[in-house]
């Protein structure tokens, strides 16, 4: 199953012209700066704005082409807006039931109880929306969208209206949606941090056009895209919990490039985790140092080097096939005589566990 959309339309001095072709499973992030057309695209996909001449298909279901336009109420999609937009005249339970009741019984795949549990809102059911915190409201809004058993869940910057603690409160629920439900999710965001934690696939949008589409790990390390440049450059590493070290209170994580040590977590052995490694936290040596405090050192091969201004370079490495980025000075690069294909050791100063 795949999802395909083609839209071209003009909004005040702005043209959106996209051809979207993404996998029909997992989380796909539509990522780009503010004003790049992300929200317009999502609204066109949902049919909230009718884009003439557009095309939209999800799996075998046609939503729009030259002759057909299925209105949003007949598309069975879930849409989460930036603000929760709960119905203020209904309590939480009746907000959830609004879409659920309008879903044919035979098409209901999830129960209100399951959704309520998934988003941790069981104790809020009898409350009115104005008695909820911002984070709770957005969780209810997500639950309400899921209650229609949607074919796809569209989320328009669902965390952008929340402060950092509220964001961190909701993030685990979003991650659990990814793991527990078999619904493709389109997630619009301008926060690389959110995207790195949630997305499998990334659509990079700039000035109304799709710049590139691909797996998130690959997109973050492509030098022809802006993501691999700048101070925020980072890579994602998928690893599995290999064991725990009781003596030093560490957890060992295996990835194709070797074994990582992190501060002990409660995760069970075999559990899949996603790690974030910032380019500025990776330094390079030619020999494997022994007298160093850094535990995470991996053999890697230089794939590509690109200048970042006059003083710095970013180096893309492959460690057991897994791409890593390293931000170093141009002087270091010259002293180490780095070039494509050269074998080096990457010293990883810190990693962040994302899930």
């Amino acid at each position: 199953m795949s999802i395909e959309g083609r839209f071209r339309f003009e909004r005040q001095n702005f043209i959106l012209d996209v051809h979207l072709d993404i996998p029909g499973r997992g989380v796909t992030a539509i990522f780009g700066p503010s004003g790049s057309g992300k929200t317009s695209l999502l609204r066109a996909i949902a049919g909230l704005d009718r884009c003439h001449g557009g095309y939209m298909r999800i799996g075998d279901t046609l939503w729009q082409d030259g002759r057909t336009f299925v209105p949003p109420e007949n598309r069975r999609l879930g849409f989460v807006f930036q603000d929760a937009s709960l119905f203020t005249h209904l309590n939480v339970r009746r907000n959830l039931e609004y879409g659920f009741k309008r879903t044919p019984v035979a098409e209901r795949k999830v129960s209100i109880e399951k959704i309520t549990r998934l988003l941790g809102i069981g104790s809020l059911l009898e409350r009115r929306p104005d008695q909820l915190s911002g984070g709770e409201q957005q969780r209810v809004a997500i639950a309400r969208a899921l209650a229609v058993s949607p074919k796809i869940l569209l989320m328009d910057e669902p965390l952008s209206a929340l402060d950092l603690p509220r964001k961190q409160e909701i993030m685990p629920y979003l991650e659990s949606l990814h793991d527990e439900l078999d619904i493709p999710i389109l997630y619009v965001s301008h926060s690389l941090n959110e995207v790195a934690r949630l997305a499998d696939c990334l659509v990079l949008i700039e000035e109304g056009r799709i710049r590139a589409t691909g797996a998130i790990g690959e997109m973050l390390t492509r030098f022809d895209l802006p993501l691999a440049h700048g101070d925020q450059a980072e890579v994602l590493v998928e690893a599995n919990v290999a064991g725990h070290d009781d003596a030093f209170d560490l957890t060992y994580l295996d990835f194709p490039g070797g074994r990582l040590s992190v501060v002990r977590t409660g995760l069970p052995i075999g559990h899949a985790v996603r790690l974030r490694v910032a380019a500025r936290d990776v330094s390079l040596t030619l020999e494997q140092h022994t007298g160093t405090s850094i535990l995470n050192i991996f053999r890697a091969t230089v794939e590509e080097i690109i200048s970042e201004g006059s003083a710095q370079v970013t180096v893309r490495l492959a460690a057991g096939g897994v791409p890593l980025l390293s931000r170093i000075t141009r002087k270091s690069s010259t002293l180490l005589d780095l070039e494509r294909g050269k074998s080096v050791f990457a010293q990883v100063k810190s990693v962040a566990l994302l899930s």
């Binding site: 069975r76 849409f79 603000d83 005249h89 309008r102 969208a145 229609v148």
Partner: protein, 226 residues
């Protein structure tokens, strides 16, 4: 003390106000909805027409209605062609006149309320599989309920307080078109101040009670000024 004819005037007044309010809610709701959501470039023209009775002397409105409803006016000809008699100086004529006269008092609160409801809630309802009519009745109406209350009470109260238009198109026919405000006028003309007091005092109290109800029930919301 009020006499039988005063009670008849009272019942005509309430019948007129009740019927006018009902008709205005039925006509004004789709009109207000359309005015809220249309992108029509000339909608301000229609808004100005609806608001006219707010500034127009009632005698002007009454005069044109009288001409239109009379036997030689366009509406009069239509009613004649349909086999009826002209609407001027009939209760039906009063209802038609009152609908025009009280229109802004119903349409404007509704339009304000629908604007406050906004598009977002309706879009949410659409994504939750509610069709347009379903969205209107399950989202827009409940969210605009204070607007409906304000519209109904103001429409009713304003029709009760009508004088000029009714005098122009309805005359002063006891038992048919004589409403309270005109009965009061008659009493004062006849120097029956005691009876005028009874009726005026009653209307004063009634108007106060109705407005009090609107403001009391709307105190949690932004009050729409009459």
């Amino acid at each position: 003390m009020p006499t039988g004819i005063d009670f008849t005037a009272l019942s005509i007044t309430f019948k007129l106000a009740g019927l006018t309010t009902l008709l205005l809610l039925l006509l004004g709701t789709p009109l207000a909805w359309w005015l809220t959501h249309t992108h029509w470039r000339f909608k301000f023209l229609l808004e100005a027409v609806v608001a006219m009775p707010l500034v127009l002397p009632p005698s002007v409105l009454g005069f044109y209605l009288l001409v239109a409803l009379g036997p030689h006016g366009p509406v009069g000809k239509i009613t004649e062609w349909l086999g009826g008699r002209p609407l001027a100086f009939t209760f039906t004529g009063l209802v038609v006149g009152s609908v025009f006269y009280s229109m802004p008092f119903v349409v404007q609160p509704l339009q304000n309320a629908f604007t406050t409801v906004g598009r977002r809630s309706l879009e949410v309802a659409a994504t939750l599989q509610a069709n347009p009519l379903d969205r209107f009745f399950t989202v827009a109406v409940p969210l605009a309920r204070s607007g409906f209350l304000t519209a109904a009470v103001l429409g009713f109260a304003h029709t009760v307080g009508e004088f000029g238009v009714i005098l122009m198109i309805g005359g002063n026919i006891p038992g048919e078109t004589q409403v309270l405000s005109i009965a009061i006028y008659n009493h004062v003309e006849a120097l029956e101040y005691a009876r005028a007091h009874w009726l005026s005092g009653g209307l004063l109290l009634l108007s106060f009670c109705m407005l009090m109800m609107v403001y009391a029930l709307n105190r949690r919301f932004m009050v729409i000024q009459p």
